[in-house]
């Protein structure tokens, strides 16, 4: 046994005056009596019992000495552990699997109890710091002996809806390796133990503390131990949604593709009902049955006809037995329509060209017509050059960076398709186009020629100059009534789509371990304005979360739920769900060895004080049970 404050043992000298006080003979009270003979018997009896009286004083002294020694030892703060007192970083696993609840208590609550028990054992010298870990390591309390503040901080920690990141596990090991007098105790479940072990086995995990590290020599390394809670005898049954998607399908008719993936930790195959609701969680519009194999994964893909854009909910119906984790039961999904490409037409006779563009300008379509070419995303020009960022130019004429050496009209062009597989020519047979009105010219260097005349004159090519792009169609769209043919709008659509590189829409749901895709979603809001206006936009989320766009860009969300991006130009919903296979597919107890349990007993000093108080009371009673004086 060692003492944290051995100097306090000097208080043992207080036993000397105490003993001295007992050496002093207590003088009886002097009373006047008129009948001595009555006292003779009493005096004789007292003489006869003098030994007993002295023994009773001795007992009293011994009890008081016991109380004194116990109190002094408590002052000196004895420890049964002879090793050097190292600080402890208590790290609570706050990943999704810690929400697993069996028999009323969640794994997280049990972990918090373990941490509280450790804090209760603080002896005034050993410092404890507090952190939580999921997608990142969050420090809640610096190293301190102040149990109260630690408990206050402990109460603020809540489980998140993300998984435990392997990088965080490596970070814990690195903290222990830092040689900073810190032992790291990770209070987690089997999932967490697995991640820590995997991280330790990975190549990056082993690079920490290389031969170049002074921590190996200058300072002793700490230890990382994992205290596993959730020692259920069986794997808790949990079915959770681990992947989800709802996306608009091309081709009009407001069709949408739904994809859902369910993982199960149940020991047997489970049949689950999937509810699809529109607008609000209780407005169920479709039910799907899915059988999930034991401790496996199953998925479904469906096409939803006439699906309205907006908020949808996918949730798992009541399963056969209680489900261990509730957070992965329901996923909000945001079905988005594409923000159409603003197309402007610059032509002497724009009507038919606009009509072709308008055929793709229906609700949910890829285009919308815009009169102003300056603010348009793409300009369709005829008989003139256009130098917007994206251009489709027909019937090239005049000087332009998009062509060189324009010459005479071609008599009868014979188109040869150079790149039949090019995506811009999808759904089209360009070899069948007449290219009436084509003229001799040369494409600028670096152009991709898709169709050329048999003599090599480019008829359809893509060019890029100073970061601007153009598709040049070497024909007169009004010749041979090409603008009235079905191929014309298809050609226009194919070229515009290729030039604009229509970006995929943001996902219907974002995993909680990722930052919100605020920039992509901001760009889908029709009147969002330029990125420069983004500073006025805010993100509001569950539990009164409010972030600026720049904050939201790099901050993993951690909490599932619905978030809202709003600003001067409008607003958009963002759905967040846990979507983590490893966390939803819970692991149960196994027989593998884990780190020894951390000490959670009351400290010796506390018991010594209890003894001191008890003995003082006992001696008090003992003293008053006799006649003194």
């Amino acid at each position: 046994m060692t003492f944290t404050a051995p100097a306090m043992l000097w208080w043992l000298l207080a036993a000397l005056p105490l003993i001295a006080l007992f050496i002093i003979r207590v003088r009886p009270r002097r009373r006047t009596t008129v009948a001595w003979f009555l006292w003779e018997g009493v005096v004789a009896e007292r003489r006869h019992n003098a030994l007993w009286k002295r023994l009773r004083d001795l007992w009293s002294l011994l009890l008081l000495l016991v109380a004194l020694i116990a109190a002094v030892l408590a002052l000196a703060e004895p420890r049964t552990d002879d090793r050097e007192q190292r600080d402890v970083l208590l790290v609570l696993d706050t990943s999704l699997s810690m929400q697993a609840t069996v028999d009323g208590d969640s794994r997280f609550e049990r972990a918090r109890d373990v941490a509280a028990a450790v804090i209760d054992t603080l002896d005034g010298n050993r410092r404890v710091a507090l952190a939580s870990a999921d997608i990142a390591l969050h420090h809640h309390a610096a190293r301190t002996t102040d149990g109260r503040s630690l408990r206050e901080q402990l109460a603020t920690i809540e489980p998140s809806d993300t998984g435990l990141d392997a990088q965080v596990a490596r970070e814990l090991q690195a903290l222990a390796d830092l040689g900073d007098g810190l032992d790291v105790v990770f209070i987690s479940d089997r999932q967490g133990l697995h991640v820590v072990r995997s991280a330790a086995a990975s190549p990056t995990g082993s690079t920490e503390g290389s031969a170049d590290s002074p921590s190996a020599g200058e300072n002793p390394r700490g230890s990382l131990s994992v205290h596993v809670v959730g020692d259920e005898r069986e794997v808790p049954a949990n079915l959770g949604l681990v992947a989800a998607d709802l996306r608009r399908l091309d081709g009009g008719d407001r069709r949408a593709g739904l994809y859902l993936q369910v993982a199960s930790s149940a020991a047997d195959s489970r049949s689950v009902e999937i509810h699809l609701a529109q607008g609000r969680p209780d407005n169920v519009v479709a039910l799907h049955q899915l059988t999930v194999p034991a401790q496996g994964i199953a998925d479904i893909s469906r096409v939803i006809e006439d699906a309205e854009a907006g908020l949808w909910y996918a949730s798992l119906g009541t399963s056969e037995t209680a489900d261990a984790v509730e957070s992965d039961q329901r996923v909000p999904l945001v079905l988005r329509d594409r923000v159409p490409l603003a197309v402007a037409v610059l032509a002497q006779q724009p009507y038919f060209i606009e009509a072709a563009a308008r055929s793709f300008a229906h609700q949910g379509g890829p285009f919308r017509l815009q009169p102003d070419p300056i603010t348009a995303d793409l300009v369709v020009a005829q008989g003139r050059s256009s130098e917007s960022r994206l251009n489709v130019i027909m019937q090239p004429d005049g000087d332009s960076p998009w062509w060189q050496e324009p010459g005479a009209a071609l008599e009868r062009p014979a188109p040869v398709v150079v790149l039949p597989e090019h995506p811009a020519l999808r759904h089209l047979s360009p070899g069948l186009l007449g290219f009436a009105g084509a003229r001799e010219l040369q494409a600028p260097p670096g152009s991709v020629v898709l169709v050329q005349d048999v003599d090599g004159t480019p008829l359809l090519y893509l060019a890029s100059v100073d970061g601007r792009r153009a598709a040049v169609v070497n024909l007169d769209p009004h010749a041979d009534d090409f603008v009235l043919q079905a191929a014309f709008p298809i050609l226009l659509h194919g070229l515009a789509a290729d030039l604009a590189g229509l970006q995929p829409l943001p996902p219907a749901v974002t995993a909680a371990d990722q930052p919100l895709p605020v920039d992509r979603i901001h760009s889908t809001v029709a009147d969002a304005g330029s990125p420069a206006d983004a500073k006025d936009w805010r993100v509001h989320g569950p539990r009164s979360v409010e972030w600026s766009l720049s904050e939201a860009r790099h901050r993993p969300v951690r909490r599932a739920g619905l978030y809202r991006l709003s600003g001067p130009g409008g607003s958009a919903s963002i759905s967040v769900a846990s979507l983590d296979v490893e966390e939803s597919r819970l692991q149960g107890a196994d027989s593998s060895t884990v780190a020894p349990a951390i000490a959670a007993a009351w400290m010796p000093a506390w018991w010594l004080l209890v003894i001191a108080a008890g003995v003082l009371l006992l001696e008090h009673w003992w003293y008053h049970r006799r006649v003194v004086g």
Binding site: L21, V26, E171, D245, G446, E551, H620, H624
Partner: protein
């Protein structure tokens, strides 16, 4: 105000007071009332104090002390002198701290390390300056990770202050998130900016093509971003597959990025590697002088033809080029060394190149090129093809439809083959194991009428296998297994013994193969070899490794009318032995006029009048594998043209040749171009990636790939069965899982730790579509010398080193006062006893 850490303990007061009152009330002590109650009262007070101590009382106190963490950036972007100078400032700042303050010092680079004091760090700087210290720590500036980690270092009861001594250019992540988190945790962060590297430095920051996928003939613009920290002239070169194709003279400006543009036509289809290389007038680091990128070029099918004499394939190449093939005819060492190089081609034709000219890895890569990446492989007949070329039991033979094994004809002369193998100690391990394998393979190639013997030698000769007919293959193999490496090297007695043994046999041909990897004791080697030659015994030699006596081996082979081989790679020994055996037995080639006979139909013969195929004047004897389809045979019955699938690709064997020697009629045939174009079109890799949209990014050493699969109508495809195969530059491969994440959406995440370059093949198993992605690790970001410091650092408040000890924020700390209560209890206890006794 007192706060209680364990307030539940206060409940003990209740029973304690009750017990005290009960004892006191029923007391029979006869003491003066005043003493009695003083004693009892003081006892009660002592007990209460002890119980209050049990509840661990704390008192919040305002502390004006600080704990300062110094985080010193020691990465390469810092000059050692600069760090040294900053350490002096840190020492001065430490001296200025109050006695209550505390501090810690950390060094941050590729990792974060505690340092006892500035002097210790100075010692390490000296090591780095003298190049005696391991510099791994300096290879990165992981400032974000360092800041995240030091948060655990701060103690409670102190104001937390963090000083970052750095040039502020992290290589791991933006600092804004971690600085926000530190601010939220109440850490006062300041940046003491260091000047950074003061050596002359120039680098290529990036090389970016205008498109990732180009078409044949398209001019792709490569933008190389170069920068330097001082004005200097430099030359920027653009290399395509290691060859300089363009260069520009530049005048670099200090501290300014410069974008240099190269417009290059894509004339070579396939994966095309480009590198920008900077040659500056002054430089400090060389690691950052180049940057590479890969452009996938779609275009004409590319065929690689390998022939010892490339001129002999001119006719074949011309015929194919007339059929819109891009043909690259190379000499025998022209096979690309890595998979990326192979994937630049759609098919490989081994016209006349022996297996001994390829490394084992090259052969394995070629096999994977066919089996895993769907490439085509064709072997033409020649003296260096099939078994004659040493391909027996090689990875390449596995991908071909024909095997070198054959039944030797009876009229061929019998052969006695003597294998004289060095089994000295230096052959320990892989060499002796491969030598045994080579001896077995050689014995398998002989006809039952042939004989084989194996003599090992170290300090003395050892007959592992006496002359035995090759039909008794089991005994021969068992005998060969007895060869174990041990002892010195004395070749002469073994040659003498082998000579004597061959003298005793009646075989019509006698051949000796000697394998040695060291210097033999001096002897009359020329004499014994001459005696062999006089006795009709030919002698070939194999010098293995750099320690072999190459001159002696060459001399022996020359005198012995044999061939001499030199190789550094023990794995080539089996190929050399089988090739030698085939050549010695002179049995694999048939030369005459042979007419082509159609045997089977196949799409590659569509449109060809097979009955009108030209005649051949010779061929290599082979036999088809069970899975092979022989399309055309010689009138002698041996295969002429055969095809078989191997994995995803196709192997074709043509046992005659397409040079003047055996294929004169083929070259003169006017249908040659069309015929071979048809054959090769069915052979080439069909990397149809349409409908596969790939988005890839690299972060935290992970290669993230988002996949989207669409059908011909552009509709997302669900339930796609993917197969992903990753091959790294070292020949290692594994199959990363592809996860479905949405409707037609899939993802992969690959840990690239330890991988410098890799090729990933993604294949839709149902639709037979695939795409190849390429990964090249850039040089460490530490050498990129980012121009600007992280803007989040610039937003921090300034704090001069001299002011570090001032303006310390008050921090409330709860201190335990339980010991005061215990001490008070002891005093009260004494007081109570005093009142009892006096």
């Amino acid at each position: 105000m007192i706060e209680w850490a364990h307030p539940a303990s206060l409940w003990l007061l209740l029973p304690a007071v009750v017990l005290w009152w009960w004892s006191t009330h029923r007391s029979i002590v006869d003491r003066p009332a005043r003493s009695f109650w003083w004693a009892a009262g003081l006892r009660l007070a002592a007990i209460v104090c002890v119980i209050l101590a049990l509840a661990r009382p704390t008192l919040p106190l305002l502390q004006e002390r600080q704990h300062v963490v110094f985080l010193v950036d020691v990465s390469h972007s810092q000059s050692i002198d600069g760090i040294d100078a900053h350490l002096a400032e840190i020492e001065a700042a430490i001296d200025g701290l109050e006695s209550d303050d505390s501090w810690q010092l950390f060094a941050v680079g590729s990792e974060i390390q505690t340092v006892a004091d500035p002097e210790t760090l100075r010692g390490r700087l000296r090591d780095w300056r003298d190049h005696t210290g391991a510099a791994g720590l300096r290879d990165a500036s992981r400032l974000a990770a360092g800041l995240a980690r030091v948060r655990a270092a701060f103690p409670g009861g102190f104001a937390h202050r963090l000083i970052i001594s750095s040039d502020g250019r992290p290589t791991d992540a933006d600092l804004a998130p971690v600085l926000t988190r530190l601010a939220e945790e109440g850490v006062d962060v300041h940046w003491w900016r260091t000047p950074g590297l003061d050596e002359a430095e120039a680098l290529v920051a990036s090389l970016t093509p205008s498109v990732a996928k180009a078409y044949d003939g398209e001019v792709v613009r490569f933008t190389a971003r170069v920068r330097a920290n001082r004005a200097m002239p430099a030359t920027l070169r653009l290399l395509h597959r290691g060859v300089v194709v363009d260069r520009q003279q530049l005048q670099l400006t200090a501290g300014a990025d410069r974008d240099v543009v190269f417009d290059m036509p894509m004339v070579v289809a396939g994966a095309s590697d480009w590198t920008a290389e900077l040659v500056p007038a002054e430089d400090h680091f060389t690691a950052n002088n180049s940057a590479s990128t890969t452009v996938a070029v779609a275009g004409e099918p590319r065929i690689l033809v390998l022939h010892e004499n490339p001129r002999a394939m001119r006719g074949f190449a011309r015929a194919l080029e007339g059929q819109d093939f891009a043909v690259d005819v190379r000499a025998e060492h022209g096979l690309p060394a890595d998979m990326n190089g192979l994937l630049a081609f759609d098919a490989v034709v081994l016209a006349q190149v022996p297996a001994t000219r390829m490394s084992t890895r090259q052969m394995t890569n070629l096999q994977r090129f066919v089996g895993d990446f769907g490439g085509g492989l064709m072997m033409l007949g020649s003296e260096e093809s099939f078994g004659l070329g040493g391909y027996y039991q090689t990875p390449i033979e596995e991908a071909l439809p024909l095997v070198s094994r054959y039944e030797k004809e009876k009229e061929k002369p019998s052969l006695a083959l003597m294998l004289v193998i060095d089994k000295s100690g230096s052959m320990q391990g892989l060499p002796i194991s491969l030598a045994r394998q080579a001896a077995k393979a050689a014995s398998e190639m002989l006809s039952p009428r042939d004989q084989v013997a194996v003599v090992g030698f170290d300090g003395s000769p050892f007959v592992a296998c006496d002359l035995t007919f090759a039909g008794d293959i089991g005994s021969i193999h068992n005998a060969i297994d007895r060869l174990a490496a041990d002892g010195g090297t004395n070749m002469y007695p073994a040659m003498t013994l082998a000579y004597d043994m061959l003298q005793r046999t009646a075989a019509q041909m006698k051949h000796m193969i000697i394998l040695g990897d060291g210097q033999s004791q001096p002897a009359d080697f020329a004499g014994i070899t001459r005696r062999c030659a006089d006795a009709g015994i030919s002698v070939s030699t194999v010098a293995l490794g750099g320690g072999a006596d190459r001159a002696l081996m060459e001399t022996i082979a020359e005198i012995g009318n044999g061939r001499s081989y030199q190789t550094m790679d023990p794995s080539q020994v089996p190929q050399i032995f089988t090739k030698e055996t085939m050549e010695a037995s002179r049995s694999a080639i048939k030369e005459d006029v042979f007419t082509a006979v159609p045997v089977d139909d196949h799409p590659m013969l569509a449109g060809t009048d097979v009955s009108a195929l030209p005649v051949s004047f010779g061929y290599v004897m082979t036999q088809p594998k069970p899975t092979a389809q022989v399309l055309v045979a010689h009138d002698s019955g041996d295969p002429l043209l055969a095809v078989s699938r191997f994995g995803l690709g196709t192997g074709v064997a043509f046992t005659a040749d397409l040079s003047e020697r055996w294929g004169g009629d083929w070259l003169a045939w006017d249908g040659m171009g069309k015929f071979w174009a048809q054959v090769l079109r069915s052979l080439v890799r069909k990397a149809d990636a349409s409908g596969m949209l790939v988005d890839q990014r690299l972060s935290d050493d992970r290669w993230h790939i988002d996949l989207e699969r669409r059908d011909e109508r552009g509709e997302p495809m669900t339930d796609v069965r993917w197969h992903a195969l990753l091959m790294d530059g070292q020949g290692g491969q594994f199959e990363p899982p592809v996860r479905t994440i949405g409707y037609g959406r899939y993802e992969l995440s690959i840990d690239t730790t330890g991988i410098d370059r890799a090729t990933l093949q993604l294949r839709d198993l149902d639709a037979d579509k695939s795409t190849d992605l390429h990964f090249q690790r850039p040089y460490p970001a530490e050498f990129a010398l980012a121009k600007a410091a992280d803007p989040a650092l610039a937003d921090l408040q300034t704090l001069a080193p001299a002011d570090l000890g001032r303006s310390v924020r008050s921090v409330e700390e709860r201190s335990s006062i339980a010991h005061w209560f215990i001490a008070l209890a002891l005093a009260l206890l004494g007081g109570g006893v005093l009142f009892r006794r006096l």
